[in-house]
């Protein structure tokens, strides 16, 4: 083994107040543990001087402040090795001096100690919800990390996009409820205990809502109605892009959140499940000119933020500021960040919050060929990662279907959500739209060659109603958020099934259950990549709240008692996912063909109405059936007939003739357990000529 002490740079060259130093390496940025010392490297294009501030863990006052000698600066990077630090007890930050000229974009303030944007862990919020010391002038401090996790032979799973079934979830909400019965509720460790549940459910990818360090106390306040503390609960406001949220780790108080999250990823991978992170690169936790100075504002305001000609903050994010994503410097920090998560945490993909912002130039105009999106698409480390855009922003840019994709990017398909919701609730004029959505939205992804895997199909996500609430509320009920019900979307395409909110009325309950199953049947038989929202498989409610971003209470927490109370719904979803898995026809990465491609003379997809081969595309049509034909996994002929009756009256659907016998797999009009039969146990249809679909129901019938 080479002896590192034989290297020349093992020995210091300078000394400052008893601390031994030498000139550092500009790359990599951040704090890197070397043999004998720590390399600190930080960038600013407009600062005039820089000081490294070191603390002993938790101490209010610095242990030492070491100004970078000018000879330690290379270009705009200050870099220095400090020897003999106890890597576990040191906390660090920087002071930057430079002009304070807001009209010019500069807001340097040497009285502030700044968090390193490359910090690998951040202290200050180690225990979720523990009241912070509000007088602390430097609350979010950088810490050092050992990057030697033992991954054994794990690496990102690289599942083909068309095989994915995504489960969007919030780490804390998933196991915080007492009914989760885990040792460490609301943490990564808690999630570890629920891996068997996820595997049994049948999903193969989880998408974690933000897990980068954020401050749950950002803009925290008391609810005027309930008095409870309202938090930045969801975490869409980043403090540290390179650091896992300490408060999500059972071991966060000991600074071991990196190991804990890595262990979760490794164990989830063992269950065949991928991990996608929801990343928020559109803005930071610093807000506008009235917000706190945490990091970027004090390091290089003009570089990191989109500024108006007067030096104010553009607000395309709706959160006060906008990260200047297509500035070359910001592009490289985003790239460095994602590479770090892919390489060091084995993350399988990323979902970009308000991603349309990532395609704007430094003055806010949309770019035809945004350098950041292109760099991400062609990056060698990210080459196999899933890249998913929320293809709109709060500045009015809506790019579903037109997001610059470079053959890589997928999108949350907001049109899928809206069209399917409206069809299911019985709106007229949507039969054609439903046909398009079932095919993987060729209107959006066909002309440009992107195909169905560009379409993340979803009915619900963290933004908006849960699936049960979608069929329990006509209106949002966000009073608990403390904004007099003004926040959250008003355009939900929801229907309360006759009573607003929870009810003991059995017919209403049964109808809601049926609507959920009908909607999910559409989702799981559509081409594209289906995404479920945590708890919808067990009938979770948020009591009509469609924007529960601030509530650390049972509104958000997943109540695991529902797995018992709604056992039939959970069983339905588990079997529905198995049906999707059993039929490759539903998961092709190409849009289907109308003319050929099926078994013998059958087209790959054909549409039908109550009469076979005669779909009703009229304005008043609320019924549609499609026939998928091709070959299944064993290369046997496959015929899959899927019919939806969104009308309030039942209807007879005559079945197309096939050279096989029809067997019923799903009938959402039937009560459990006749609503769904496991793959291989489908029931022979006694009358092969047709089926009766109850009001607001769907059937999935297979030929064999």
């Amino acid at each position: 083994m080479p002896d590192t002490s034989s290297r020349i740079d093992y020995y210091p060259t300078h000394e400052y107040q008893g601390f031994h130093l030498r000139p550092g390496h500009p790359y990599p940025f951040g704090a890197t543990i070397l043999s004998g010392g720590v390399n600190f490297s930080v960038f600013s294009s407009h600062a005039t001087s820089c000081t490294l501030v070191l603390f002993d863990k938790g101490e209010p006052l610095p242990r030492v402040e070491i100004p970078f000698p000018d000879s330690f600066r290379i270009g705009n990077v200050w870099c220095m090795v400090v020897f003999d630090l106890d890597c576990e007890s040191v906390e660090y930050g920087y002071r930057m001096d430079g002009p304070f000229e807001p009209a010019e974009g500069h807001r340097f303030d040497p009285t502030k100690i700044l968090l390193d944007p490359y910090a690998k862990t951040v202290s200050g919020r180690e225990i979720w919800g523990q009241d912070p010391d509000w007088q602390q002038p430097f609350p979010h401090r950088g810490r050092l990390v050992f990057e030697d996790f033992d991954w054994e032979d794990d690496r990102p799973l690289e599942r083909p996009m068309e095989e994915l079934v995504i489960y969007e979830m919030h780490v804390r909400s998933f196991t915080r409820h007492p009914s989760a019965l885990v040792k460490h509720p609301g943490t990564f460790a808690g999630l570890l205990e629920k891996i068997p549940y996820l595997k049994e459910l049948g999903i193969n990818c989880i998408e974690m809502m933000p897990v980068y360090e954020f401050d749950e106390f950002e803009n925290s306040r008391k609810s005027p109605t309930t008095g409870e503390t309202l938090y930045n609960y969801w975490g869409y406001s980043t403090v540290g892009f390179f650091s896992p949220k300490a408060g999500y780790a059972a071991t966060g108080r000991w600074g071991m959140q990196v190991d804990e999250l890595k262990n979760v990823v490794k164990e989830i991978h063992k269950a065949g499940i991928e991990v996608i992170l929801d990343v928020v690169f559109n803005h930071t936790a610093e807000g506008n000119e009235h917000g706190p100075t945490i990091s970027f504002r004090g390091l290089d305001n003009k570089t990191y933020y989109m500024l108006t000609p007067e030096g104010y903050y553009f607000n395309f994010s709706g959160c006060g500021n906008t990260l200047n994503c297509n500035h070359p410097i910001v592009r490289s920090i985003v790239l460095d960040c994602l590479r770090y998560w892919a390489a060091e945490f084995h993350i399988d993909g990323f979902r970009f919050d308000l991603a349309a912002i990532l395609g704007r130039d430094p003055w806010g105009a949309p770019l035809p060929n945004p350098p950041l999106l292109e760099s991400l698409a062609f990056d060698p480390v990210l080459a196999k990662c899933k890249l998913i855009a929320e293809a709109w922003d709060a500045g009015g840019l809506y790019q579903v279907g037109t997001f610059p994709a470079y053959g890589r990017w997928a999108e949350w398909n907001g049109k899928y959500r809206d069209d399917v919701r409206r069809f299911v609730k019985g709106d007229p004029g949507l039969a054609g739209a439903l046909a398009t959505r079932l095919q993987g939205s060729p209107d959006l992804y066909g002309w440009n060659g992107r195909g169905p895997t560009a379409s993340i199909n979803f009915l619900t996500c963290h933004d908006g109603f849960t699936l049960l609430d979608l069929f329990s509320y006509n209106e949002k009920h966000n009073e608990k958020n403390g904004e007099e019900n003004r926040d959250g979307a008003n355009d939900n395409h929801s229907w309360n099934c006759g009573r607003e909110g929870a009810t003991e009325d059995p017919p209403v309950q049964a109808l809601r259950r049926q609507m959920i199953k009908t909607a999910l049947s559409i989702l799981l038989t559509s081409r594209g990549v289906p995404m479920l929202w945590m708890g919808d498989e067990m009938g979770r409610t948020q009591e009509g709240n469609n924007n529960a971003y601030c509530l650390d209470d049972p509104t958000n927490w997943l109540d695991w008692n529902l797995t018992e109370q709604n056992r039939d719904l959970l069983r339905f979803v588990q079997l529905l996912l198995r049906h999707r898995k059993a039929h490759p026809l539903l998961r092709s990465k190409k849009h289907p063909c109308f003319h050929r491609g099926g078994f013998e003379e059958y087209p790959e997809i054909s549409f039908h109405g109550q009469a076979p081969w005669q779909p009703d595309w009229s304005e008043e049509s609320r019924r549609l059936a499609c026939l998928w034909s091709g070959r299944d996994r064993q290369d046997a002929p496959a015929f899959l007939y899927f019919a939806v009756n969104a009308h309030w009256e039942g209807a007879w659907f005559a079945l197309p003739r096939i050279p096989r016998c029809w067997h019923v797999a799903i009938n959402t009009g039937m009560p459990a357990p006749e609503d769904i039969f496991a793959p291989g146990e489908e029931v022979l249809l006694s009358d092969q000529s047709g089926v009766f679909l109850s009001p607001r129901s769907a059937m999935f019938i297979i030929g064999k």
Partner: protein, 110 residues
Amino acid sequence: MEIQVQAQGSLTVVVLTGEIDGKTAPEVQSRLLPLAENGRKLVLDMQKVTFLSSAGLRVLFLLNRAASSGSGKIFLTGLVPELRDTMSVTGFLKCFQLFDSQEQAVEALR
């Protein structure tokens, strides 16, 4: 940090007392790494270890690697529940063979 080393037949039993963190880990490493590397079975009695930091976990892991790269092996005994839990959620626990007590380990490995 106190480190007591005693040979028991083919085994080396090490009784550790105190906290293993960034400050004490280098000492543990310099005392025990030569033992781990010489191919002996090393029983680490952890009963009196009250805290394991990130650096502490890494020393144990390093010793394990060093031992298993030869013919040696590391066994942990008497881990208090808190440490066991920390090791479990960070993925370190399954790298080690555990015994409830030093006596059990000595009996089983004799």
